[in-house]
Amino acid sequence: MSLAPEDRLVLARGVRVRFDPVRNCHVLLAPERVLFPCPTSVEILGRLAEPRPFAELVAGLAAEFDAPEEEIRADLEGLLADLVAQHVVLVERRAP
């Protein structure tokens, strides 16, 4: 999956992420599903409560972790492809 800078990403309806004190980790709760996201996914998901352009997400994370945008973008594309395939994150694309 390739993402254009203006593609907007948002958490799918019904998805919640929270910390679970019993398991001592973050959990992702969705209809009939529980996932245990990695810390990077938690960081990303926490920024997608409202639709956000891919470019803005990359820039934000690059600034926060003081890393080159190119590197962040490459990492994110793989992770987001997984989250999209699992219906955890939706992509809103402008009609061509």
């Binding site: 799918a12 019993v22 959990v27 709760l29 209809p31 009939e32 219906h87």
Partner: protein, 374 residues
């Protein structure tokens, strides 16, 4: 049986299936409830349910499935949902959607409901009424689905499929898209409770099953970006058994309307197990230490071919209740498994039933007059 005390089980359950009531306006012949239904007078009080939720959250439960019967018949459902929200439990309402007003639904949403799962028995009014045993159900379900979406709640359509409605599976997919459902659950009947009593009336042919696999595959390819489709296959035609409830006492804890705590719906069909009640024991003790929950954990109880099977970690030998129901031995390999010596006989049974004219439904009804709807 192993008389040596076992270590308490430390892995927490993920989901609590709260069967709030056995009362239901529908009478589906494949209901997973037991044949002997619990009457209203024996249902747990609000106070006990709220305590169960507190105990479940402390134990590590993350999702609360509000089920029944029809859970909306409990007038305290809003209080239960509100407590779930306060405990950060993800609440899922599993409903037939026939007697729920928009105002009620709005109150549940306000209380913090996270998700609605709506059953649809068939895709046309006639079939829907006939299978659910309730007149006018289809129009009510459609209106209910629209109300769910109008409130912005995520919606799953639950389609239990069998020989009477499988030929309309494509239409189920279209209906899910029309109603803007986020998810469609296509679940072949699993034969327990009322479904087992109606097995011959419900069993699909192998050709119907194969066709349903193709339809789901095509629908996923075509609509996968809009609609998540979960698919549960029937195990009488399977090669490997299903990892029932992810294994006995592994992921799910069920509290029945009368307070009995079970690893799954059908567990009471296994004789000799004493399932404690939330009225008498803490949920944590029942989950971690009660002999009934410990009974089929691990691998020590297994017989061959399960005991030395590389798949034992995947499916735990299949379903204990099915081994009991079909073979009279809850420790046997689930005969849904092709490695079971009884597999061919079970499969032939399914084929013979599917090839015969279907007998009439034995509808699921609560017999006690005291529990009749007002």
């Amino acid at each position: 049986m192993n008389a040596i005390a076992r270590e308490p089980w430390r892995e927490p359950p993920i989901g609590l299936l709260a069967e709030l009531t056995h009362r239901c306006p529908l009478a589906c012949p494949y209901c997973s409830n037991p044949l002997e239904l619990t009457a209203r007078e024996r249902e747990l009080s609000t106070e006990v349910w709220l305590r169960v939720l507190d105990e479940a959250a402390a134990l590590g439960v993350l999702q609360l499935h509000l089920s029944g019967g029809e859970p909306t018949l409990r007038t305290d459902l809003e209080a239960i949902v509100a407590r779930a929200r306060a405990l950060e439990l993800y609440s899922n309402l599993i409903t037939a959607g026939v007697g729920v007003s928009e105002r009620r639904l709005e109150a549940l949403a306000k209380a913090g409901l996270d998700h609605v799962q709506l059953s649809v028995q068939d895709v046309d009014p006639e079939g829907c009424d006939r299978i659910g045993g309730f007149k006018g159900s289809f129009a009510r379900k459609v209106a209910f689905a629209r109300a769910v979406r109008a409130l912005g709640l995520p919606l799953t359509l639950n389609a239990v499929v069998h020989r009477h409605n499988l030929d309309r599976l494509e239409r189920f997919v279209e209906l899910a898209l029309e109603l803007e459902a986020d998810r469609l659950e296509v679940a072949h009947v699993q034969y327990y409770g009322w479904a087992l009593a109606n097995r011959a009336a419900l069993m699909p042919t192998r050709a119907q099953l194969d066709r349903s696999v193709e339809i789901v595959k095509a629908a996923r390819e075509r609509y996968g970006d809009r609609l998540l489709i979960d698919f549960v296959v029937p195990d009488y035609y399977a090669t490997h058994p299903k990892p029932c409830a992810s294994g006995w006492g592994r992921a799910v804890i069920l509290v029945a309307p009368d307070g009995r705590v079970l690893p799954c719906h059908a567990a009471p069909t296994i004789p000799g197990l004493d399932f404690p009640s939330v009225k008498d024991r803490p949920l944590a003790w029942i989950w971690q230490e009660s002999p009934a929950f410990q009974r089929f954990r691990g691998f020590e109880w297994m017989q061959e071919p399960c005991r030395s099977c590389p798949r034992r970690e995947i499916d735990s030998g299949g379903c204990r209740c099915q081994a009991m129901q079909l073979l009279g031995d809850p420790e046997a390999t689930d005969p849904a498994c092709s490695l079971s010596p009884h597999h061919a006989r079970i499969r032939a049974l399914a084929e013979a039933e599917a090839a015969s004219a279907p007998p009439p439904f034995r509808y699921r009804r609560l017999e006690e007059p005291a529990a009749a709807p007002a």
